[in-house]
């Protein structure tokens, strides 16, 4: 549960973005509005990020999708095997489906756009630090779209991974409609914990499924 107000250790955060101005802005905002998050380092390139994250061992990495030398996906590819405990939250100006799906499939636990308000960004950071997934409405829409049953789509090879349950679909729909987890929970008469479980399960399917739409998006970015 993230909404509990009991004091806790601040979440250590590492910023990766090739725009120094943007890093400075995020750092200032995060440090001014909350005690829940502490910025422990930042990097402006893939190489710097790989070295810096290995040294700083943050809980959460805020990862820019678009950077020279391969971008966020490259950082994920290099660090995920070594540091399975570090959680990555993608932060990008791009809303293109390929970018969103690609970085999720590379291992990010969530995706938010840079226009997100600071308060919501903090909430997202705390949430991924707790092991949950963060779906922006747009990401929820993409995932729904990718898992949709279309007349011409490929046959399902692994129903475990390639299909969403009706409940997961409901949760995603409400996420896409802009509902918060708490609102979803009361709408569907389930607990917030259950909502989180559904979202995590959707994230896992998004990362592991071989559905044509997903692998196409991923292979367009040469991730598979």
């Amino acid at each position: 549960m993230t909404d509990s107000q009991q004091p806790r250790e601040p979440v250590s955060v590492f910023l990766v973005d090739d725009h120094a101005l943007f890093r400075a802005g995020v750092r200032a905002e995060l440090e001014s509005i909350t005690e829940e998050v502490r910025v422990v380092g930042e990097a402006g390139s893939v190489a710097e990020a790989v070295a810096g994250i290995g040294r700083a061992r943050p809980q959460v990495v805020l990862l820019d999708v678009h950077m020279p030398d391969g971008g966020g996906a490259e950082v994920l590819r290099r660090l995920r095997p070594e540091l399975p405990d570090v959680v990555f939250l993608a932060l990008s100006v791009s809303d293109a489906a390929e970018d969103v799906i690609a970085v999720i499939r590379a291992g990010a636990r969530g995706y938010v756009t840079k226009t997100i308000s600071s308060k919501e960004l903090v909430r997202a950071i705390v949430r991924v630090a707790d092991g949950d997934a963060v779906f922006s409405p747009r990401l929820a829409g993409f995932v729904l779209d990718a898992f949709a049953d279309r007349p011409g789509s490929e046959p399902i090879s692994d129903p475990e991974l390639d299909l969403l349950t009706p409940r997961e679909r409901d949760v995603l729909r409400l996420l896409a409609r802009g509902y918060a987890y708490k609102e979803i929970a009361s709408e569907l008469f389930i607990s917030v914990k259950t909502v989180e479980t559904h979202v995590s399960s959707v994230l896992r399917k998004t990362q592991l499924s071989n559905r044509y739409e997903l692998s196409r998006w991923a292979s367009d970015r040469r991730l598979v």
Partner: protein, 471 residues
């Protein structure tokens, strides 16, 4: 003062018009030269080109159309502002003096560039063409006769020389042809293309035939009067020399090929960069300038920034955007649901300076009921923007096999639907009425303090199912 000068130049033009029967602007000249075919037009063109190439003296171009051999005579006529028949006659007469006309023609062929594609072509009357062929024959005849009289071609040198000439003419003409082809197709072939155009077989055969003619002619001239052994030896040494030269110059050729490719890539890059620069200038820089002017009004700044962001995003990632392949499988007809929703959201964002988050799942072509659905959704967004008192509105549209649903949600004030005064017909008419007229339904979920959600559902026609699949 100015007036006087103006008159002066006017008189000048009139004077030229009288001496050279050309410039149509001159009243006197026009009358006298009217019946003489295409000359006035070409002279006028020469004049206009002289104006166009303002820097340096006017250049001479070979004619691209309406030519008989290589367009040299026509080009020279354009350049000098005289009738083409006089130029041709001059070449023919000069040919009598040891083939000087032919040499001059050849040199001009090599050194004068061909008129580019953008210039309007010249048309020649059949009579002029007939004259041209006559003069060509005359020129060749005079060359032969002149040569025979002056004893320039002793014995039978004349014949092989003629063969060489014909060979050269064939190859050069082919080079002109290939250049024209490349103009037509937008210049993207390599070195081979420069000589052969697009490697068309007919062109290849023609070039080969020309080369054979030249080689034969030269061979005959050089080897005349020698016996068979000598000839064999000479042939072998020539071949050996050619091979040697070819081997020695391999790096040079390779570099030329590479430079050509490099140059082409650089040009493509430059064009690309220019396009991006132009777009950024028209959009982003203008908006930034506006934002600086509006710096006191945060609301206006946010509105400008949001509109610009949407535009740039559309350009970068949109279906017809810069980052997408040129061929998009999106149907062009009436636009798609996603485009309609995006346009409606953008409009409201711009008008009311709020942010509208929209997510569309699935895709459908806009038919009449769906267009009504988009309109109703737009109305709902406008209502939220006007009355909810929030900065952000969420819109979610989903295309399902049997129906399309749209949710418009805000976290604002909310209201009591029972308490809405009867004269406020935004919701009743523009949303509910519109939906019901097209067979759809509209539900409303709101209460004071809880925000508002308008749920719109429009059943789909069954046969529209095929339009799915584009993301």
């Amino acid at each position: 003062m100015d007036d006087v000068q103006e008159q002066q130049t006017g008189q000048d033009t009139a004077a030229t018009g009288a001496t050279v029967p050309a410039v149509p602007a001159a009243p006197g000249g026009e009358v006298s030269s009217a019946p003489t075919g295409s000359a006035p037009a070409s002279a006028a063109k020469a004049a206009s080109r002289a104006v166009a190439d303002a820097e340096g003296p006017p250049k001479m171009y070979r004619r691209r159309s309406g030519r008989v051999v290589a367009g040299v005579a026509g080009g020279l006529a354009d350049h000098l502002g005289v009738r083409v028949v006089w130029v041709r006659a001059a070449f023919a007469v000069l040919a009598a003096f040891g083939g000087m006309g032919l040499v001059a023609y050849g040199l001009l062929w090599v050194f004068a560039p061909q008129q580019s594609r953008d210039e309007p072509g010249t048309t020649e009357s059949p009579r002029e063409r007939q004259q041209a062929f006559g003069l060509l024959a005359l020129g060749i005849g005079l060359t032969v006769v002149g040569g025979a009289i002056t004893g320039l071609f002793q014995g039978w040198v004349g014949l092989p020389l003629a063969v060489v000439m014909v060979g050269i003419a064939v190859v050069w003409r082919e080079a002109d042809e290939s250049q024209r082809r490349r103009w037509r197709q937008g210049a993207r072939s390599g070195v081979a293309g420069a000589v052969l155009g697009d490697r068309r077989w007919s062109a290849f055969v023609r070039v080969l035939a020309g080369v054979a003619l030249v080689t034969t002619g030269i061979g005959v001239i050089v080897l005349r009067g020698s016996n068979f052994d000598q000839m064999q030896f000479a042939l072998i040494s020539v071949l050996a020399t050619l091979v040697g030269v070819a081997v020695l110059t391999v790096p040079f050729w390779l570099r030329m090929v590479r430079d050509l490719g490099e140059e082409r890539r650089a040009r493509i890059r430059t064009e690309e960069r220019a396009e991006i620069a132009a777009h950024l200038h028209d959009s982003v820089l203008q908006t930034l300038a506006l934002i600086q002017k509006q710096a006191e009004s945060p609301r206006e700044v946010a509105r400008l920034a949001r509109g610009q962001e949407r535009e740039l995003r559309g350009w970068l990632y949109g279906p017809s955007g810069y980052g997408q392949p040129a061929t998009s499988d999106l149907q062009e007809s009436r636009g798609s649901l996603a485009q309609g929703i995006a346009a409606a959201c953008g409009e409201v964002e711009d008008t009311f300076a709020i942010s509208v988050q929209h997510v569309v799942v699935g895709e459908a072509e806009l038919d009449e009921p769906l267009a009504a659905l988009v309109q109703a959704a737009r109305e709902a967004i406008v209502n939220a923007a006007k009355h909810a008192g929030v900065e952000e509105v969420s819109v979610y549209a989903e295309v399902e096999p049997t129906a399309v649903t749209v949710f418009v949600r805000d976290r604002g004030k909310g209201f009591d639907p029972e308490a809405v005064p009867g004269d406020r017909h935004g919701l009743a008419d523009s949303i509910r009425g519109r939906m019901e007229r097209n067979g759809g339904t509209c539900r409303l979920r709101t209460s004071p303090g809880e925000g508002t959600e308008v749920q719109l559902e429009m059943p789909r026609k069954v046969n529209v199912k095929t339009a799915q699949g584009a993301t």
